[in-house]
Amino acid sequence: MERIPFRKEELEVIGQTINMGRGSFPLLNTPISPRENFLMLLRGEDPLWIPFARDTISVTPAIIKDNIARGFVYDATPFDPNVEGGGPDMFGVEWEWVPTVRGSMVRPGNPKVPDVEEWEKYIEFPDPDSWDWAGSAEKNRALIEQKELLFGATILNGLFERLISFCEMSEALVAMIDEDEQEAVHRLFDQLADFYGKIIKKYKEYYHIEILTFHDDWGSQRAPFFSLDTVREMLVPYLKRIVDTTHDLGIIFELHSCGKNELLVPAMIEAGVDMWNGQPMNDKKMLVDTYGDKMIFGAAPEGIDNDSSLEEVRESCRKFVDTFKDHRIYSGAASNAMFAPGIKEALYEYSRIAKCGKAE
């Protein structure tokens, strides 16, 4: 691909991304589409600018009950989580939408699975064949057919998150290392791997997704929940099966895993994860220096939020681009900086110039 130098006219806004309830973002007058640019990164080529996380768009359709329970429906169906969020997920676990938090949780104290070792007594797997995939895809036709952004789907409640939802946090954590309970967890994750595989195939067949984002939080603010050895033993075999299914369908696998999880990156790589956009408390520079040839990391400009001034945002973005311009990376924005003034334009302009120079 020709290394087209940056021209000021590229900052002209030529449209907006499709708004699925998360707000829309400006589409700039880029020499190639954000989607094509992202694909360059994924193919191992040097993109014309550092791809922005919002150069992807991900659905979480209402046909999957988890998305309603979590208040996280993003598709063509109008959805107000304050009215419709919460309720049973696809396994019948009851979630509670908390408006101040803008998220759902299972209220502790009454787990669906009181004894992990006997989870089969309490859990019935749903049948994705019985959901109206064709109808859902039809509603989202415009989204599926757009070619500006890399298009994907998100699966909430990965392997460990599902275990938490069944039996609560403390019990789930203990079950990951307790010799008596591990066998039951293996049985559960084995079935979940097949189950998620079915859902991913449906997404491919009906939505033609190019990227799958798989939510499984593995850590807290200060450290992973569990050791690398525990992840290798309990999660990697099943995550790898899910990743392999995804790859066999020609889909990129992005892990969404909150927490300070840099210690667990070797396990992500062993599972075949393509991309991880970890939270800012992870040392992204260390990660790209150490593992940048094996996995793509998401990173974000630091020290800014939605109330920062344009000058502060531009300075932070300039520093970010200086640090990461030679790495295989995509730029996100911390959740409190997603709408920082001029963030997308600044990241675009600086990284375009850093990668391709500036036209006279």
Binding site: V101, R107, P108, I177, S220
Partner: protein
């Protein structure tokens, strides 16, 4: 290795099935129950807490260690007499109103209990009035307030303010913690202590009570 050292090792490794038998054996051999508790269990949990702080072990290992200690204490309790003999004070701990997160609070409960406190777990989504009501108990020495979200930090502020108005405020210390909480915020809202992890919470709570 002495029997008490064996107990400590089993507690540290979270061997809940081994600990009760080892405690029985130690008692049969004439070991002092208080020494079994202090050296075999509380000290072992301090080691666990330190390892957790240093990322040598993680939350599950801490949980199974606490569980192992609990099993041992069940066997030990009849030999220790009433609970007032072994408790260094009462701690009430909860997550603030509007916040349903419980793991951080649970870990603090476990570590503080393992440090010798009698713990009343108020649960999650706890209104400020409930904290104040519980703190009215004259035996309460520590009130632990947890918040895991930036959006529930105002509820923590309101809770601490309410506790600071309590007529028996000098009887207890208010400790705060949770992912978004900082020392600066703790100072601003008038808490007595902020601790970044459960192990530190236990040692600070103990220092408040026994000096």
């Amino acid at each position: 290795m002495s029997k008490i050292e064996e107990i400590a090792s089993a507690v540290e490794r979270g061997k809940a099935k081994l600990v009760p038998g080892l405690v029985e054996e130690a008692l049969d051999e004439g070991a002092d129950p208080v020494e079994i508790l202090n050296k075999g269990m509380i000290d072992a949990m301090s080691v666990v807490g330190e390892k957790f702080k240093n990322n040598e072990i993680f939350v599950p290992e801490m949980l199974v260690a606490a569980r192992a200690m609990k099993k041992g204490v069940e066997v030990l309790k009849p030999s220790l007499g009433g609970s007032s003999d072994i408790s260094i004070g009462k701690a009430v701990i909860g997550t603030v109103q509007g916040d349903l997160h419980d793991i951080g609070k649970n870990l603090v409960c476990l570590m503080i209990e393992s440090a010798g406190f009698e713990v009343q777990d108020l649960g999650v989504d706890v209104p400020a009035e409930k904290f104040v009501e519980s703190a009215a108990d004259p035996d309460v020495k520590i009130v632990g307030v947890s918040a895991l979200l930036t959006t529930t930090m105002p509820a923590m502020k309101a809770t601490v303010e309410a506790l600071n108005q309590a007529p028996n405020r000098e009887n207890f210390k208010v400790m705060v913690g949770g992912a978004p909480i900082t020392q600066e915020f703790a100072d601003e809202i008038g808490a007595d202590a902020y601790t970044p992890d459960a192990a530190t919470a236990a040692s600070v709570a103990k220092a408040f009570v026994v000096g």
